[in-house]
């Protein structure tokens, strides 16, 4: 088991390296940051000074080595726009995005799992059919448009919830969090729900499919033949079997939630990484773009790694294979 973990770790590092090359080449070969860095009226000497300052006069491979070196030290250079280290700009906004993504994931699980279980256990009830139709809608509705409609209904018409920013925050573990204050929580609700919609449908449908696959199995019938209560059958025998695919999906989808928070953050003016990256793309703020992309690469590779580990812990069959 340790061997396979180490092998996966090495694979993960290779993936990260490969992505550094892609990101670096992509950003450096296409798009010329000099143009936006330098005032068009600047004279030649000024131009050269700026180019030298950012190391843009070096050969590409050398720039790449510098880039790698920077990566290891967490140094992606200063933002062209803010004039501050790109990484710290991103890290400052990380808690906001994490908070949003985690809330959305929790909402998706808390709503999707029970509804999926219900629809799977009682597929012929009208309520189950309604749930399934609703989930198709949840799949097809464009997230950003739903966000707007949520604002229209809950903020503009009903005036129940605010739509802008994080609201009041409180400190915890050295970062600011909205969910710790009442006001912050009310700000978090709409964006989190918006982001959760798509994933709720996904988890719901997966859960239902899983239930329908597990229920006809002999071991469920045998569990009934033992005289177990329906509760134990559903919550232990069925659910435990669902956990394996669900954990995989939930892990993967967490990454995708962070990526998709770009949209929700833009709509609700949520001051997270996503909003920053959109602004940076618009302004060609290269260090921030690169830092963001590398953060995401590392995040995804890390997530995949964690999922693998969880998988091993959850599925006894995999565990044995790894031992053998």
């Amino acid at each position: 088991m340790a061997v396979s973990l180490i092998r996966r770790l090495i694979q993960a590092i290779f993936v990260i390296l490969a992505m550094t090359v892609i990101v670096f080449v992509g950003v450096n070969v296409i798009g010329n940051p000099v143009d936006i860095l330098i005032n068009p009226d600047a004279n030649q000497a000024e131009r050269l000074r700026v180019i030298a300052h950012y190391g843009l006069d070096q050969p590409l491979w050398k720039q790449y080595m510098l880039f790698l070196q920077g990566l290891v030290h967490g140094d992606f250079g200063n933002s062209f726009v803010y004039g501050r280290p790109a990484l710290s700009l991103i890290l400052e906004r990380l808690p906001a995005t994490l908070e949003l993504a985690i809330s959305a994931l929790l909402i998706a699980i808390v709503i999707g799992l029970p509804l999926g279980l219900y629809a799977g256990l009682y597929p012929n009830r009208i309520s189950s059919r309604l749930i399934m139709s609703g989930s198709i809608l949840g799949f097809s509705l464009p997230t950003f448009w739903v966000g707007l409609m949520l604002i229209m209904v809950f903020a503009v018409e009903l005036r129940w919830l605010p739509t802008n920013g994080r609201g009041a925050t409180a400190e915890f573990l050295g970062a600011q969090w909205s969910f710790l204050t009442r006001n912050g929580l009310s700000h978090l609700l709409l964006p989190a729900f918006n982001l959760a919609l798509f994933k709720t449908s996904l988890i719901l449908r997966l859960t239902r499919a899983g239930v329908q696959e597990v229920l006809p199995q002999d071991y469920i019938k045998f569990a009934r033949a033992k005289g177990l209560s329906e509760r134990r059958i559903v919550f232990v025998h069925v659910l435990k079997n669902l956990m394996i695919p669900l954990v995989t999906i939930i892990g993967l989808e967490f990454g995708s939630l962070i990526a998709f928070s770009v949209v929700t953050e833009s709509i609700f003016a949520w001051p997270g990484m996503g909003k920053l990256i959109i602004d940076s793309i618009n302004l060609l703020d290269r260090p921030v773009i690169v830092a963001y992309l590398m953060m995401m690469v590392i995040l995804f590779v890390g997530l995949n790694f964690i999922i693998d580990v969880c998988y091993t812990l959850l599925d006894p069959r995999v565990r044995l294979d790894a031992k053998a």
Binding site: Q217, Y219, K221, H237, K240, N241, L320
Partner: protein, 324 residues
């Protein structure tokens, strides 16, 4: 003293009103501590009979009419809660495929312990002890360690022993064994049958042993019931039915088994196959394959009683089998 189990005119249908009668008017009785061999070809309704008694029919199966009197309680109509109290406690079941009967993601110990706790409010430690003893009883070496193993770490024979251990946990009055050895190697088959016989005799448990295999029935059973296309076609003591079969189908079954006292005679397979239950010919279901059929067989024969034995045929076979 009244019989432990009395099945009266049991009718089980799949698909309401579609005439898909998997079990059609089956009646038999079983005394305490006795063994009934339920035989017939694939699809004849043996398993459905067993699951009807357990009230564990797959959808859309349901008991359409008839009574299943178990110790005076009609299982066909009793409440689901009462059924749950009986399952595993007084009526247990062992399934055909041991590879499928244990939940792959729960340890064997968990699956045994929950079976104890389903019917007895004892501390978990006591339940664990009971589980361990039960494993030892069915001949599983080092039961303490095996409790924390997962099903996939057991061979097929060992898994079936676990299933039998679970079935015997509460010393039930009745065990329904649905071809519990069919999926096993011949040598293991024989071991398991002996163990099973020993244990059920010890606990005075009555058994319905469902099988294709007449050899097993002749070794284990006191009574025998032969099913064909959902109906009982012959029933009586093993000595009577196997020694002097009356129904041509029973005789066909016996003739197709290799045997000591018919050495030198060719084995005779019954021509044709069991008709599908939704395409039964009118009259005697066996008519298309029967070498004794006449015009008169286009009516449905009733069970004819001859003392304690009965058969469903207009032209019963006379005399012992091998003389014919």
């Amino acid at each position: 003293m009244s019989a432990l189990l009395e099945v009266r005119n049991l009718v089980t249908e799949f698909g309401k009103g579609l005439g898909l009668l998997a079990v059609n008017g089956v009646s038999f009785t079983l005394d305490r501590g006795k063994v009934l061999g339920l035989v017939g070809e694939s699809g004849s309704g043996k398993s459905v009979t067993g699951f009807s008694i357990m009230r564990l029919l797959d959808k859309p199966g349901r008991i359409a009419s008839g009574q299943i009197l178990f110790d005076g309680v009609d299982l066909a109509t009793t409440s689901e809660g009462e059924m749950r109290r009986l399952r595993g406690k007084r009526i247990a079941m062992v399934f055909q495929d041991p590879m499928m009967t244990l939940n792959p993601v729960l340890t064997v110990g968990t699956q045994l312990i929950e079976a104890v706790l389903a019917h007895e409010a004892v501390p978990k430690e006591v339940a664990r002890q009971r589980a361990r003893d039960a494993l030892g009883l069915v001949g599983i070496p080092s039961p303490e360690e095996r409790l924390s193993a997962y099903p996939h770490e057991f061979s097929g024979g060992m898994r079936q022993r676990v299933a039998i251990a679970i079935a015997l946990l509460h010393r039930p009055d009745l065990i329904i064994a649905d071809e519990p050895t069919t999926a096993l190697d011949v040598t293991i088959q024989s071991q398991i049958i002996s163990e099973f016989q020993r244990l059920t005799e010890q606990s005075k448990t009555a058994v319905i042993w469902i099988t294709h295999d007449l050899a097993i029935v002749s070794r284990l059973a006191d009574e025998i019931a032969v099913m064909y296309a959902g109906r009982l076609v012959e029933t009586g003591s093993v000595a009577h039915v196997l020694g002097t079969p009356r129904h041509p189908y029973t005789r066909g079954l016996i003739m197709s088994v290799p045997s000591q006292n018919r050495r030198g005679e060719p084995l005779r397979q019954i021509p044709g196959i069991t008709p599908a239950i939704n395409r039964l010919p009118p009259g005697c279901s066996f008519r298309a394959r029967c070498d004794r059929a006449t015009e008169g067989c286009s009516a449905m024969p009733e069970l004819s009683w001859e003392g304690a034995r009965a058969y469903r045929c207009f032209h019963p076979v006379e005399g012992p089998t091998h003389e014919r």
